[in-house]
């Protein structure tokens, strides 16, 4: 079954076309790299899929639910980490995750165990009683991912989850995401190709609002060591 189905999705900001008739499908359980240069339309696509903003034209379905016609059902299937982790600085990590669990409709009795589960999965158990504002960048990102995991959504959409992290934190976050494969479908946006190579099975490259490549990792890199880089540079050249 397809987790995400997008048909001719278009978004215009006044005269500027951010994404232009995108069509793609993403299967269940895959880790998909969503690549493109800065400003290619990655974040726009993700914001439409998560129901943060509507498209100008076209259709998008998440786990079979149309994101425009059945927004609440579609949103229940998605865990989303925006570009900036949406942490309330005044709350503790525990308080914040508790709030997210409530608005995501986690049954009252399971809220506590759910917080423990995601905290353990993202390695923030020791930070649960600290204020969000006191966290380091790496932990902020982890709490952002923990927040997305609450309620065990089928689909995770992560917008540049490793942005601004040091190499070690970056590696840890990538391993974390890799560990999610199988239980969740993960869409990962980034412009760092090395990350994609380590963890993604399918790659979508978007350039100036259009899909320029949609294939498995192996097919795109052609088996070469830096095949993905070469392909990316040649596809996004102009």
């Amino acid at each position: 079954m397809a987790m995400i189905e997008v048909e001719r999705l278009t978004k215009k900001y006044r005269d500027r076309v951010a994404i232009d008739a995108l069509s793609f499908t993403i299967g269940e359980g895959k880790i998909v790299g969503f690549l493109g240069p800065n400003g290619a339309g990655k974040s726009t696509t993700m914001k439409i899929l998560t129901g943060f903003m509507p498209a100008t034209e076209g259709k998008a379905r998440v786990a079979g639910f149309d994101v425009f016609e059945k927004p609440l059902e579609a949103k229940r299937q998605i865990g989303y980490l925006p570009e900036t982790p949406p942490l309330y600085p005044e709350l503790t990590v525990r308080g914040f995750l508790h709030f997210v669990a409530e608005i995501k409709g986690v049954p009252r009795k399971q809220v506590k165990s759910e917080i423990d589960r995601v905290a353990q999965g993202t390695g923030v158990t020791t930070e649960l009683d600290r204020l969000n504002s006191a966290l380091s960048k790496g932990y902020r990102q982890r709490v952002g991912i923990a927040q997305a995991l609450i309620g065990n959504p089928k689909l995770l959409i992560l917008d540049e989850p490793t942005e601004g992290l040091d190499p070690r934190q970056r590696n840890e976050v990538l391993q974390l995401i890799k560990g999610l494969a199988g239980q969740h479908t993960v869409v990962l946006s980034t412009h760092i190709l090395a990350e994609v190579k380590t963890i993604c099975e399918q790659v979508l490259i978007i350039h100036r609002g259009k899909i320029v490549a949609d294939d498995t990792m192996a097919a795109i890199s052609g088996g070469k060591e830096n095949g993905l880089e070469e392909k990316f540079i040649s596809l996004t050249a102009n």
Binding site: P82, E83, V100, E102, I103
Partner: protein, 274 residues
Amino acid sequence: MRNIIAIAKKEMTVYLTTPWAWIVFTFVSFVSSFFFVGLLVQFKQAHEDIRLQGGWEQVSPDAQFLRNLTDGVVMPLFSTMLVVLLFVVPFLSARLFAEERRQKTFELLMTSPVTSAEIVLGKYLGGLVIIGATVGVTMVYPLVLAMYGSSFSATTSEKTATLEWVTVLLGFGALVVWGATILSIGTFISSLTESVIVAGLITFAICLVWMVLKIVAPNAEEPWRSVLDHLAFDAQLRNPLRGVLDLKPIVFFSSVIATFLVLTHRSVESRRWV
């Protein structure tokens, strides 16, 4: 309903774990205690003067309200609180949506399975509880009066209840309603901007204009005079603050609140459709 309560609880936590609410509680206690003492001194002075002059019959009708503690101290105190609320409510309401946008946490709310109406109501309710607590601070003074004050019937010299609690509670209710009204305006303004300061100032400016209507009204020509007089903020509150409950202010303020909550909802929804 659970979503509304969750959001309201979050707002209350943020108010109470940051200086926001505490600054307001402190400010309100300070200002109101100042007025309370002033009003008590005035009350005492009036009663001494009357003893010297020989009875209430000599006193002009304008000063008759000083006969008892409820009308002579508590109600004037509540009237000044109307103005105090005008300063503090915009301060509380300004962050409701503006802060959310500035911190980029709005994306979390908008991509969670909650409706815009639940977001608006949850935030409003959270703010309302804090405003209730703010007004609650001033209930200390009636309590102090009830504990230490005493009152005697003018005709039989028997001891009577110090305060008329029904009147006091009605005044309290009027203050909460007034706070709730400014809060609804402030919530709407906050949903329009990313800057907390701009949201607070604009809300304050709107409420100030509303207060000034009362001064402008007598100078306007009919039919404007009646319209302005009717809309002036305290025109609707005069009765409840005298202990008279009628339907008019209830309808008036609940329509204002409902209108602004609907506008806020439209404004939040429109964010989705830019």
